[in-house]
Subunit: 187 residues, 2 copies
Amino acid sequence: MENSGLEWKRESGRKVFDCPVFLVNEYVCRSPDGLRRTYTVMDTADWVIVVPVLEDSGEKEFVMVKQWRHGSQGLSLEFPGGVFESGEDAPTAAARELREETAWRAGKMRKLGEFRPNPAIMSNTVHIFLAEDLRFTGAQELDEDEYIETLRVKPRDLIEGMGRPPYVHALMGAALALYLREYPQIP
Amino acid sequence: MENSGLEWKRESGRKVFDCPVFLVNEYVCRSPDGLRRTYTVMDTADWVIVVPVLEDSGEKEFVMVKQWRHGSQGLSLEFPGGVFESGEDAPTAAARELREETAWRAGKMRKLGEFRPNPAIMSNTVHIFLAEDLRFTGAQELDEDEYIETLRVKPRDLIEGMGRPPYVHALMGAALALYLREYPQIP
């Protein structure tokens, strides 16, 4: 896509806040026609989301996780996923999050696409994978402050529920859109 | 959905950063079994996304906007949308953003659903609307630092492009999932 006429340049930046989860930086930017403005950006590690599909006698089910979310102050039913650990690439992070949160391992894993969770105010990328040929390993490996219940969800229930509690996490909607592109004919 | 066993309680909070776009607060929270942890949350106004559909002789096209995004440092092709202004409700914000960014008004507007953009670290909600029966008003009403190009996009191009540049904005993927629930048979 042509950049000309819309592309800004970053001239300088400075850190204005940090915590273990993210940094906040302010960047002075210059517009195509010379306007100068300061924009605040949350800089953080990349994330991964895994869409795990169990198939039994032709019937598909998603493996999903129910957990409390401290931003929304509510429960959320989501595909497994999380933050890249230091040095991880996307497939490694995907396999690890799937195993830790759900106790399933994937025989087949492939990338469906990637998004910017919020390109206006965040710099990171969320990588979305499809996980198939699942094998149960027996036990989740949760952090001390992770309380996660694993559930199986029928595709029709997920599609009909999306955008209403407990299917409130927008990034799961984005992951579902990529899944529906590949498998539009869900029964 | 049952909360028991997963629900945390907020015990206290304090502001650790603010800027015109968002606040960052730290909350001390207590887990179901008494663990105490501090979580950092970005508190900000609600957002709206509008999926504007033009229909001409049975052929549908989305009205979309191309703009530079300062978090991702790149161009993004998106449905129109933005931040609620003070005192606005969701339908008012939706109509305003559609008009300002695209110069189209909707004869019919209805809500498709809502998501938490990031329930882990953000408190706000994004409200997603379908806009139909569109009428062109002639001119965008852009802020001084908004440089927005309006485009018409065929549904098939959007679906095939989603999750790759320039369709990088995750919330647009979530909006598309809600649209595809209502109109799964896009040609």
